[in-house]
Subunit: 213 residues, 2 copies
């Protein structure tokens, strides 16, 4: 409990800073391999000419995800958690302090959390909202099996829809479970590979950014 309280103090400070700078901040949470980094690569390709984007990537080990985002053309920093299964707000704060000018004046900051559907849900990072990703290859039973994240996420993205023909995944069942857990939530279905659904996801981001300003 003490840990979460300490996290909240730093999160509140971060949130105030993001409000002052008008930066939209998104905390992306999913199982390992649901497609967070790939979705960000596609999003960056579509939005980087219009907006100043930045990325923070949480992982246990390697710089692989931050490298992929830097290659996609935005400033990105890897936060190695030292074994912790989630990012916390102090790590975010010290990463941003370190980056200084490189991350100043961003329109949108994407925080890709550690691949884990459970613990990251409880740590506020000063974000505007959480985005949960659920890939069609993980099974259509996940919302009720992992209810906390799907209740707390304002947006759920169903990813890898190009694979629907090859797996048992009932989109209607998933949507009904999601609407039970989060009646006011938005749900997007997309494939980062084929591009289907990417426009609606990007439009939602720009709408939320305009809403924050």
């Amino acid at each position: 409990k003490k840990i979460l309280e300490g996290n909240l103090a730093a999160a509140a400070q971060l949130r105030a800073g993001f409000r002052a700078s008008g930066t939209l901040v998104i905390n992306m949470i999913s199982s390992p391999g649901s497609g967070k980094t790939t979705l960000l690569e596609g999003t960056i390709a579509r939005l980087k000419a219009l907006y100043r984007l930045g990325g923070l990537d949480g992982d246990i080990a390697t710089e692989r995800d931050a490298e992929r985002l830097r290659k996609a053309g935005i400033p990105a920093r890897q936060i190695l958690t030292g074994g912790a299964c989630h990012l916390d707000s102090r790590q975010v704060m010290s990463a941003l302090d370190d980056e200084g000018e490189r991350f100043a004046g961003l329109d949108i900051l994407f925080i890709e959390n550690v691949g884990n559907l459970i613990c990251p849900t409880s740590y506020d990072l000063g974000e505007d909202y959480k985005v949960a990703l659920l890939s069609v290859t993980e099974g259509d039973d996940k919302p009720f099996k992992y209810p906390a994240i799907f209740s707390k996420a304002a947006v759920t993205v169903i990813t890898k829809t190009d694979l629907l023909p090859y797996v048992d995944f009932d989109v209607a069942t998933v949507r009904s479970e999601l609407s039970t857990l989060r009646p006011d939530g938005a749900v997007f279905e997309l494939s980062s590979r084929s591009g289907t659904g990417m426009d609606a996801w990007c439009d939602d981001l720009t709408r939320r950014l305009a809403g924050k300003r």
Copy 2:
């Protein structure tokens, strides 16, 4: 640290009990949706006529996985963790105490852990060995990104190989990362859907059971 020490005491007791009864115990760990329950369904279909099998399923919510194993024809009990992202040995002990005779004299006990590649790695459940599952749809970068579980698992199963034609997954890269992290580890490639590779996985189980006796 105190939590892990308490866990070890109960794990040692469990392990002694399993040795006395000659039960092979497997702790299955993966991301959510990598295919643990589906692999168990296929394994049960192939082995239940020859061996007395049992299942313990750890989850945050729902009885869905234990129901699937019971439907497959073995005694199975769901352990709801109350929000914890991993099973611990006291939960296993109290579940087995509760089940009593229903789980007595098993040849193989499968413990399907909570879907999470990180925290379950640190909790000894009295098992003979850990099995990590990695589905081809999660990406071929996972061993080095989540090194703890792939170092601690004596067996890694690469699942859903029927989907290889539709994803970027380099089996050779994964095998090379796995052999760096666990030089003495066994690796199986299989599809629970098509049945490819299931015989080698089942043969390995029966060999390890014979080895324990």
